[in-house]
């Protein structure tokens, strides 16, 4: 792990040096030390907490709705033929729709408030959950299902003990995609007419030409991405403890 930090640290060092000797102009890219000061100012003033809180709430709410929706539709389509006929064609059409494209439509429908923002995140995240979970359910080893069938499980038990656990690894893949996409959608919706949130901080900083604030906010987006991914991985390790460890993971 520590060796993986070497190259980012080296870049930081060169960057700092370049800024100090005047190779990198401060209005293009402030020095790392300047960014650290900006970050601490934002923290001390409490502005960061406030806006980060708003952004996180948007992402979490949108994600929760999107994941629930995607999961429900995947169960309907995955567990019954009729459900598949009803849900899957619609989902395939929706999937082909670039979610950023519906922003104008959502604004007309829901206004420029929170509803549009949350709805867009939900729309964007339900797709990866649906696709992976549906695929996971359909991909459960038919031989295992057959064996469980000979043990006298009824349909509900079969779903609970065989099909859902079998589809769980796929679900986690979908969840990680969904988290990434939720951040992307968050950035997009916060560009449109926000008066709070990290995206708002960025827009405001742009108007005042404060490169340092923009960069700190970008850094926060990427830390969010890393943290949420680590969180899902932890969940995954816990829920999928039965999986044989890959040699590379064992070493880590």
């Amino acid at each position: 792990m520590s060796t993986r930090l070497l190259s980012p640290l080296a870049v930081l060092l060169l960057w700092e040096l370049g800024s100090r000797v005047g190779l990198i102009p401060a209005h293009i890219m402030p020095a790392p030390s300047a960014l650290a000061t900006t970050l601490s100012d934002l923290l001390v003033s409490g502005r960061l907490y406030e806006h980060l809180g708003v952004s996180l709430r948007r992402a979490a709410l949108g994600l929760a709705i999107g994941v629930s929706l995607g999961t429900a539709l995947a169960l309907v389509a995955g567990l019954s033929r009729r459900g598949e006929l009803a849900a899957d064609p619609l989902m395939q059409i929706l999937r082909a729709l670039p979610f950023l494209g519906v922003i104008p439509l959502f604004i007309l429908w829901f206004g420029i408030g929170e509803v549009t923002k949350v709805a867009l995140i939900a729309l964007a995240t339900k797709t990866p959950i649906y696709l992976t979970l549906y695929g996971g359910i359909r991909g459960v080893d038919a031989k295992l299902v057959e064996a469980a069938d000979t043990l006298g499980l009824n349909r509900l038990e079969l779903i609970r003990h065989v099909i859902l656990p079998g589809a769980l690894p796929s679900f986690f893949v979908g969840l990680r995609y969904a988290l990434g996409i939720s951040l992307l959608a968050l950035v997009a919706v916060e560009q449109i007419n926000a008066n709070s949130g990290i995206g708002y901080l960025i827009n405001e900083a742009r108007d005042f030409m404060k490169t340092d604030v923009i960069m700190v906010c970008l850094l926060i987006y990427s830390v969010l991405g890393l943290l949420t991914d680590a969180f899902v991985r932890m969940l995954e390790r816990h829920a999928l403890a039965w999986r044989p460890l890959m040699p590379s993971l064992r070493a880590a």
Binding site: K143, E146, A147, L151, G152, H161, P165, L240, W242, R243
Partner: protein, 263 residues
């Protein structure tokens, strides 16, 4: 040799005399007839081995008995309590060994029964192991325990030792024999291995052209061994009925060659 049919007996009596009864069993896939008017009887507690060339329909017959496939035509009765062990252990990877065994058990204290079954197959200490951490032989023993804990009247084994090495296979033979003696289910063992069939079974059947074409009741002095002259004679007859031409040569060959000849 046709299988004995007791037409005269009253039905109820006949049923108590048999674990399995098949008459004129036909199984078709599309226009391909795999089982073609097959007759079969298995007595309660009888150990029957089923030989046949690859593609002759052994698994098809087993699946019909396990009620995994509907039959196309004919009559088939089998006990409600059937348990199956497949060639691959087919354990749920996300359930620990004992949970795999307890799955679907509708009795009080399923866990205790599962643990006892694990003890019986010599894996009492691996109760909490994930299937991915078990060896092939161990996984197959768990699968056997999972079948036996259900107290089946009929135990179906579809080449359960096919993927195991020779030594593990021998210890599995002893295990299966011991379990069969304690629990006394009727057993139908599908195998490619003539020696395995002749060592374990009361009766060996050969499936060919969609029917039981050959049957040998085995009355060998116990303990059976591949060294007995009677055993060699039996093996030669079975190989001949399987259509292995150079039976004499195959008999002299190591078991692996005999198997290879059958595949």
């Amino acid at each position: 040799m046709p299988v004995r049919i007791d037409r005269g007996r009253p039905r109820a009596d006949a049923d108590s005399q048999r674990a399995v009864r098949a008459r004129g069993l036909v199984q078709r896939f599309g226009d391909r007839t795999v089982l073609d008017g097959l007759d079969l009887d298995i007595a309660p507690g009888e150990f029957v081995a089923l030989l046949g060339r690859s593609g002759s329909g052994k698994t098809t017959l087993l699946r019909a008995l396990a009620r995994l496939d509907r039959i196309s035509e004919g009559e088939l009765t089998a006990p409600a309590a059937v348990a199956t062990v497949f060639q691959e252990a087919r354990l749920l990877p996300w359930k620990r060994a004992w949970q795999n065994i307890a799955l679907g058990l509708r009795i009080a204290d399923a866990r205790r029964h599962a643990l006892a079954a694990l003890d019986e197959v010599g894996l009492g200490d691996r109760a909490d192991a994930w299937p991915s951490t078990l060896s092939g032989g161990q996984a197959q023993r768990v699968s056997l325990a999972r079948a036996l804990v259900r107290d089946p009247k009929l135990l179906l084994l579809d080449e359960p030792f096919g993927a195991l090495d020779a030594l593990t296979r021998m210890s599995m033979h002893r295990l299966v024999q011991r379990l069969w003696r304690t629990h006394r289910p009727a057993v139908l063992l599908v195998t490619h291995d003539v020696d395995e069939a002749a060592l374990l079974a009361d009766r060996v059947l050969v499936l060919s052209q969609g029917r039981i074409e050959h049957e040998e009741r085995i009355e060998l002095p116990s303990p059976r061994s591949v060294e007995q002259p009677e055993f060699r004679a039996l093996r030669r007859r079975l190989l001949t009925s399987l259509g292995v031409d150079e039976a004499g040569e195959a008999v002299a060959a190591p078991a692996s060659r005999v198997q290879a000849a059958l595949r």
